[in-house]
Amino acid sequence: MAQKKQIELRTDLMYDPVESLWVEVKDGIARIGLSPLVQESTGSFVAVRFSEPGTSLDKGESFVSLEAEKHVGHLKSPFSGIVMNVNEEVVEHPRLINTDPYGQGWLAEIRLSRPEELEGCIQGEEAVQAWFEAELKKYNDKGWLAQA
């Protein structure tokens, strides 16, 4: 049976508008992952390479390299901090980023050294929804999204 695919957007999380990362902060540690729109538009991931845990990052510094079928790129950290954990599961099974971007497909945990940098993230249901709709249009105009 044919089915309509949907993108699930969690509006309770913060989003980094530069790399389209979701951000969830607990006790000064930010867990980050790829927004479902980016995973959808990048294609199936085939390889992931992280910075080593313990690495100190400045805002804007690359913390992971992602390779998809037809695409490769680095993601820049939305804030300064120290890489505490990386998700070894996605190193073994990169497609988890596609199939469960908010869950098992999370990327890394970074201890924030300048929490004020979180102000650059988008948060609040309305703001997140509006940002996402704009991103959706942008990605669609670029031809990166499937069309009915």
Partner: protein, 364 residues
Amino acid sequence: MNNIPFPLEVITEDEKKYSPDYVRISAASAMALRLKSGRFARDFAFGGINLLLNYDNGCLSDCSYCGLARTRPGDYEEKSFIRVEWPLYSTDEVIERIARYAPQMTRLCISMVTHGSAYRDTLDITRRITEKVDTPLSLLVAPPVLNREKLQTLKDAGADMIGVGLDAVSKETFFKNRTDVPNGSLSWDNYWDVIYASRDIYGPWKVNVHTVVGLGETDWDMIDIFYHLYEREIFPYLFCFNPEPDSRMGEAPKPGITRWRRIQLVKHLIEHYGLEREKIKFDEQGRMIGLEMPSGKLKEVIETLDSGIPFMTDGCPGEDGEVGCTRPYGSYRPTESYRDFPFRPEEDDLTIIRRELKLEEFLM
């Protein structure tokens, strides 16, 4: 949690369908037709759409290097081919998309597999396509299921070019990789019969033969087949072996980059500048060791190198005569050096290519 409607039809596992009503298309084709989301590492126009027949029992051949080989582990529908997924869609939906995006389309190609229904279904799909769109259509044929009459019928239905995936360019490597295999052996002579019959029926420069570097052939074998084909007004198209995981050659190395670049360059010089055979020097093992180049001719090498064209994908042309089938990331991963460029290489690319070629050691 909000659900944003996302209008993508997908075929679920319980709805497996087969050709001619369903076809697989390359991931890049699915992206170009907006059937699948995705993007390329670098932006370029892409309109070469590859269709692949789909059957429950798959391809009946068992070539050592191929992702579709019969004895490669896994169900046919889950197998990758040239290392990427080939999603399955309704044939009519694909054709409707091709018509919708017709201005961006440069070349269409139906790839047969070795299967009893392949000829009948290729003819059916060819007719469906040519009824709806004018984009030139090639057929990458399976020689075991063809003869002259069938080749003529496919031409009459609207196919304008025939490709034959010979792949292994010497009789010895063909036997080793495609004949002397666990299941479904293929015949060197049958392949050449179909190449020559296609040349008779489709005419000069309307037939191409796929030649893969890295299946155990020597450079001499490769250069020899280029001359053999050019003399008969048949195009050799160059492919780089790219190991398919779990295939019998899944652990075999890719050809070295310098070897690959030199073969690309020499092929281009033969095709466009009439490079004479005796100017290409080989050692006793058939390895290409140098190119005898009088100083007057050196300019041609530099010009051809600087154009970047020799290093672009070899493929069937679009209506404008430029390569219309560019198979992005078909023989390399996005993290690797482009083995063949689906666009004109830029200056930074050329710098890398020059380094890879080691031209100063090659020109004599």
